[in-house]
């Protein structure tokens, strides 16, 4: 095979120059003629009845053009999975971030001042906080119209768990919990809606993670055809799953005010507004029972994982579905009983965040594997090697892993070698004098690629060759900052043999780009990349016919160095000349590309089937230093080995690994919204702490493992979320070795490490 010129290479990002010069426009950087500035008034209580809203004074404030409440919104409901999120609260507020009223004014200052004049009278109601309270039969019902607080239940049954436990020599039962986590994208949410621009009813610009989901919400709320709503994405200042439903909500609000006034309306959140209103990562309460034989062989697992869905269903049904698939980890277990649930509460609603339903269950399950090893007198490495998947293993869903390389041993060997695990494990197992102690730990995972049985899985793209040989690419999946435009441009350039600077990758535009589902589930490279490749291949089919006619060559064409070559290596024509010649002969060199994922299956009653068409494997190891006098934990080194199938851009893959491990470190050690009874006390970065450059490990060894997968373009699979799901368990296992004490609740903050419990009110 000829050497690839554009893929499998660390090409520079196509959007980097605009971003380092400050020219790249983000949502809040846009200005439109005659634009109004919107402001939203949110609830004062986590749960209350709205007795009265008086907007008279606000409406009379100079510069105010419109004030609206739920009464002014005939179609107030939207939602991707279950339609129960409100544009503005009706009668009752369900959480502290619920919007109650909104207005738009000629200046930001007028909007801000006028918002203070909206008079609200509430009757505070008792709230429901935490899943244990929410699932009590007598608990008040959070969601109007529901009979109880359960959002969803996913069962999985394999074998007979009680029979399995009876065979076990050791049975461990433990409870683990994780916390709410804020996405903390550096760019607060921003949208601008322009009414009646060109031929649409509304055009939305801004930091929209999933343009088609936002379009769906707008068409529902505005009661119009999808074709009348146009979403054009701007540069995204980070998302991590977090700019979906909340952006849909903002876009609906701005659209309603824009249509009311006939003027563009911009809504930009402050950081406090963002943290109070936006959805979070689900906190989980997990009960694990694991049974193993004396030799370490797992025989049974019984798992109950309950996720706090907060005030809305949002993505809870799918988040908890990923949990049910991954809850037993990458191990062969003959008898499994897993139940995952989501429950409504009066806390902020929870939705997609990098990793989705896996980081909480991996934290519990991989921590517990170490507990089990200790109980059995084995090392963490021995117990994993004894039980982990290899080729042709069967998962808890009874899926046979026979269509790709199951590379757990490889990723584990490489990560452990890179961090010098065995030597350090031996050394840190010896008594360590003094307050400062070190430990090393690791975790492994398997992860289903793309959506799996959550939804239809297909994606599209447009590749369009211009008559000068330059190329325009449109994709239905969206750049969220992760590097999608670069990857897709590399694929188009590789297929057509042109240099990267010939490609212009446009922003996603719902009136042009094919609807491709959401940019989620680490699916873009595999799904969208395949669609781009498919579009380019269609164009090459047309080129082949044209070359036969025009250049009298009928053999295989090689595309490289901005030209077409015969199989023997003689140049047929330069690419720009070919493009011009085709154009002037009336030959069309543009194509849609479409890729539909391989088939999957799932039985809702038993959790058996083929939930994903392929999987990725990863291992992360962490070396920590703990000051047992203060409880401070410092992560010294991490090694992360991930099988990505094939790296389209190795530098980008490493960037995902570095970013994912540091995000996991924040989740593990420090991130805490300071919740108490539905109130959030940490509403900005002075209190909600995320890792700084000094919190990041001194060294992160990012190891790319490549076992090309038949399903992906050039064999590529995914990395975005796999890089984030392992760090919590790895750090916790290292901490347990250092201190000799096992912690089971995140975050592993100073008090928990020092005292074994949290000192804050909710602790």
């Amino acid at each position: 095979m000829p050497e690839r010129q554009q893929v499998n290479r660390s090409k520079k990002r196509v959007d980097a120059r605009a971003k380092v010069t400050g020219k790249a426009k983000f949502g809040a950087d846009l200005k439109f003629h005659n634009m109004l500035y919107g402001k939203v008034v949110r609830s004062s209580y986590p749960h209350a009845r709205i007795k009265e809203i008086n907007t008279d004074k606000a409406a009379a404030y100079p510069g105010v053009e419109v004030v609206m409440t739920a009464e002014d919104i005939p179609n107030n409901l939207f939602g991707v999975i279950i339609e129960n999120q409100r544009v503005l609260a009706e009668k009752r507020v369900l959480y502290i971030g619920d919007g109650v009223a909104m207005l738009a004014a000629n200046s930001r200052e007028s909007a801000r001042e006028a918002a203070k004049l909206i008079e609200l009278e509430y009757e505070e109601l008792p709230g429901v906080y935490g899943v244990e309270e929410a699932r009590r039969p007598e608990a008040p019902v959070v969601m109007p119209g529901e009979e109880n607080n359960q959002v969803i239940h996913h069962p999985l049954r394999k074998g007979d768990v009680e029979q399995g436990m009876a065979q076990a020599d050791v049975v461990l039962e433990r409870k683990y919990t994780t916390q709410f986590v804020e996405h903390a994208y550096l760019e607060p949410e921003a949208v601008t809606v322009v009414p009646e621009e060109r031929n649409t009813l509304v055009t939305v610009y801004g930091s929209v993670q999933n343009p088609n989901a936002t379009r769906d919400a707008l068409a529902t709320v505005l009661d119009c055809d999808l074709s009348r709503v146009r979403i054009i994405q701007d540069n995204m200042g980070g998302s991590f799953g977090g700019k979906d439903e909340n952006i849909s909500s903002m876009a609906c609000r701005a659209a309603l005010m824009a249509l009311n006034t006939g003027r563009p309306v911009q809504l930009v959140n402050t950081r406090e507004e963002s943290i109070i209103e936006s959805y979070k990562r689900h906190p989980y309460t997990m009960k694990y029972r694991m049974g193993a034989r004396e030799n370490g062989e797992l025989v049974a697992m019984e798992i109950e994982a309950a996720a706090d869905s907060g005030a809305y269903a949002c993505q809870t049904p799918f988040v908890t579905w990923r949990s049910v698939v991954q809850a037993t980890g990458p191990y062969e277990v003959p008898h499994v009983k897993t139940d995952t649930y989501g429950f409504y509460t009066n806390s902020p609603y929870t939705g997609a965040m990098r990793g989705y339903g896996s980081p909480p269950v991996i934290f519990a399950q991989e921590s517990m594997m170490d507990e089990l090893a200790r109980e059995l007198g084995m090392t963490p490495e021995e117990i994993r090697r004894k039980n982990m998947f290899s080729n042709n293993s069967r998962t808890a869903s009874n899926q046979k892993l026979d269509n790709h390389e199951v590379s757990l041993a490889e990723v584990m060997d490489k990560a452990l070698e890179a961090i010098d695990y065995q030597e350090k494990y031996r050394r840190y197992s010896q008594p360590q004098p003094g307050d400062i102690k070190r430990g090393i730990g690791f975790a492994i995972s398997y992860r289903g690629v793309s959506l799996g049985a959550e939804a239809i899985d297909a994606a599209g793209a447009i590749v369009s060759v211009q008559k000068d040989g330059s190329i325009i690419v449109y994709s239905g999946l969206a750049e969220n900052g992760q590097g999608l435009k670069t990857i897709f441009s590399q694929i188009a350039a590789e297929e057509l043999g042109v240099s990267l600077d010939r490609i212009t990758h446009m922003e996603t535009d719902t009136s042009i780009s094919p609807e491709s589902g959401s940019t989620v589930a680490s699916r873009s490279t595999l799904m969208g990349g395949s669609a781009v490749k498919n579009a380019a291949e269609n164009i090459k089919t047309v080129i082949k016919e044209f070359v036969a006619e025009e250049y009298d060559y009928r053999g295989e064409i090689l595309y490289r160095d901005d030209a077409l070559f015969t199989i023997e290596g003689s140049k047929i024509v330069d690419f720009p000349e070919l493009a011009a010649s085709a154009f002037h002969s009336g030959v069309f060199l543009s194509s849609y590309g479409w890729y539909k994922a391989p088939g999957i299956s799932w039985d809702e009653e038993t959790g058996q089937g083929r939930p994903y068409f392929t999987y990725v494997y990863g291992c992360q190891a962490a070396e920590v230093e703990v000051d047992t006098g203060t409880g401070e934990v410092r992560v010294l080194n991490m090694a992360a080995a991930h099988d990505v199938g094939k790296a389209i851009n190795p530098a980008n893959v490493r960037g995902q690994i570095y970013g994912g491990t540091v995000m996991a470190l924040g989740h593990a050690l420090m991130e805490d919204l300071g919740f108490f009874q539905g109130y959030i006390s940490h509403t900005n970065f002075d209190e909600y702490l995320i890792p700084t450059v000094k919190d990041a490990p001194d060294n992160i060894d990012a190891i790319i493992v490549e076992n090309p997968d038949p399903a992906g373009p050039y064999g590529a699979k995914s990395i975005g979320e796999p890089a984030m799901e392992l760090g919590g368990a790895a750090i916790n296992n290292a901490l347990a070795q250092a201190t000799g004490r096992r912690l089971r609740d995140l975050p592993l903050n100073l008090e928990r490490v020092l005292l074994g419990r949290n000192l804050s009110r909710e602790g």
Partner: protein, 158 residues
């Protein structure tokens, strides 16, 4: 409240305008002078996305009042590098894949520029100290630190 006349140097150009006494430098730069490379991430001086150079020092422009910069020199990301040639830091950020979403990038660059202007060949620890006030949620910081190291080396050669 009556407006204040402020004159200062912005990216080597003299500017003069009337501002409210409480107007933040960040808003003056973004809204009145239309330089939107400087970003607002938190408004309380914690995230560093709004970092600019004020008389060569990296400052959070959300915490500086425009009236305070009378007669001083302000530099934003738009004033890094020339028309044709990028600043060495900008080039290093591109070369080292130190950019992901790009929202923190302008602030990171300004903090790094202030450091390199002050300290010719900083240690890794000095780089980390200079960037400690700039949050990034995408990169894990590693490629950013490597880019600053590379730019420092490139400048030493010159």
């Amino acid at each position: 409240m009556s407006k204040v006349k402020v004159a200062f140097t912005l990216n080597d150009q003299e500017v003069s305008l009337l501002v409210q006494p409480e107007e933040r430098l960040l808003d003056t730069i973004r809204d009145r002078l239309n330089l939107t490379g400087t970003k607002e991430g938190c408004g309380v001086g914690e995230c560093g996305a709004c970092t600019v150079m004020l008389d060569g020092q990296a400052v959070n422009s959300c915490l500086v009042l425009t009236a305070q910069v009378y007669g001083r020199e302000v530099r934003t990301v738009e004033g890094l590098g020339g028309e044709e040639e990028l600043d060495k830091l900008q080039q290093a950020f591109i070369d080292h894949q130190a950019v992901q979403c790009g929202f923190c990038t302008p602030g990171m660059l300004m903090s790094a520029r202030a450091l390199l202007d002050d300290t010719g060949s900083p240690t890794r620890e000095e780089i980390k100290t200079a960037l400690d006030g700039n949050l990034c949620r995408c990169t894990g910081y590693k490629q950013i630190v490597e880019a600053v190291e590379a730019a420092a080396e490139a400048e030493e050669v010159d």
